[in-house]
Subunit: 206 residues, 2 copies
């Protein structure tokens, strides 16, 4: 679709680079932005511009934070220092935390091991993770007694869990992985075979 | 979902104001923007910011243009001045034009009459449209002989066509409306009843 408007086409192009936004959606969004009052355009542009300026990675758990030092989760003195939950992405933390079932500390790997995509252990925050666990075990800081993996239930997640479990077992840390199975309220009819297989493997004796 | 990051939440909020973008999608987009290199963030922010500065409405047909005077379509001397295609939104023009079936002039109403939504004829570009047709008929400029309505096939589009047809008929202009019916390649099994009804009503004798 040709619009004969370079600025408009530039915006369509930039929007279409976002995940899940095709050229048609990008065009629809651009027309909406064009029809919006100037204060919305200004607010959206400014919100995008300031994001990388304001957000950094927490030096301890590597989640995104706007705090100058430790993030919201690492700086909270009421959380349990002895349990560490390992996640792939910063967004996973708020999802797990809002379940209310975990009040320990977090560690963000920023991905998962995937040789096919060229993601090696060195590309993740594994080195600082091991340092963190070692520090906890040797120093005055409360020891990390348990590591819970909350990684995606795919090949990359599985590979990463296996890789880290091997290292952590040698260090005598208790490790576990969140359960994968039929969702609460889920109809067995609609659950895929792999999930159902996992739910059967991991059945809990009553 | 609480992120404890005001700048991040601000961007999620602004993105979620776009049509078809819910809070979850907005969050996914914001995380993507956060992971993107700085030059993308800068390009996107700048593309949004400059849009309302660069784009204005064509003083003749009211489509969006970045030209200083008449738009790409109005300033083209090779287009047919005697046929005028009336559309609701600027985006409709590029769709119709890329069909290659129309080489006349356009006029953008910027909406359709909708008393329920408070859109009255005065809110649309009807006054300048009538002036444009009158000028064509009286002055030296080539007369507008035919007006084609390419409005949406909904209640608002129908109302607008009826309203304008009444006025234009009095002025002796030939008026027509694009055909609504079964799309080319469309399977009759999958066409909704209203479209099929319209296709039967407007059947073409062979």
């Amino acid at each position: 679709m040709i619009h004969h408007m370079p600025s408009f086409e530039k915006l369509v192009f930039e929007l279409a680079r976002l995940p899940g936004i095709g050229p048609k959606t990008a065009q629809r969004l651009a027309y909406h932005i064009l029809k919006s009052p100037a204060d919305y355009t200004e607010a959206l542009s400014e919100a995008v511009r300031q994001l990388p300026e304001k957000v950094r990675q927490c030096p301890q758990c590597f989640t995104y934070t706007e705090n100058l030092d430790l993030c919201h989760y690492c700086s909270n003195p009421e959380r349990d220092d002895s349990v560490l939950c390992i996640v792939e992405e910063p967004g996973d933390i708020s999802r797990i935390d809002s379940s209310g079932a975990f009040r320990g500390r977090y560690h963000v790997l920023h991905g998962a091991i995937s040789p096919l995509d060229g993601v090696e252990p060195e590309d993740l925050t594994i080195e600082p993770l091991l340092k963190r666990i070692r520090m906890g075990l040797n120093d005055e800081a409360p020891a990390i007694k348990e590591v819970i993996f909350a990684l995606d239930a795919d090949l990359e997640g599985d590979t990463t869990v296996l890789y880290l479990a091997k290292i952590l077992k040698e260090k005598g840390v208790k490790i576990s992985r969140i359960a994968h199975g039929v969702p609460i309220g889920g109809d067995i009819d609609y659950i895929d075979n792999r999930t159902l297989g996992r739910a059967l493997e991991n059945r809990i004796s009553l």
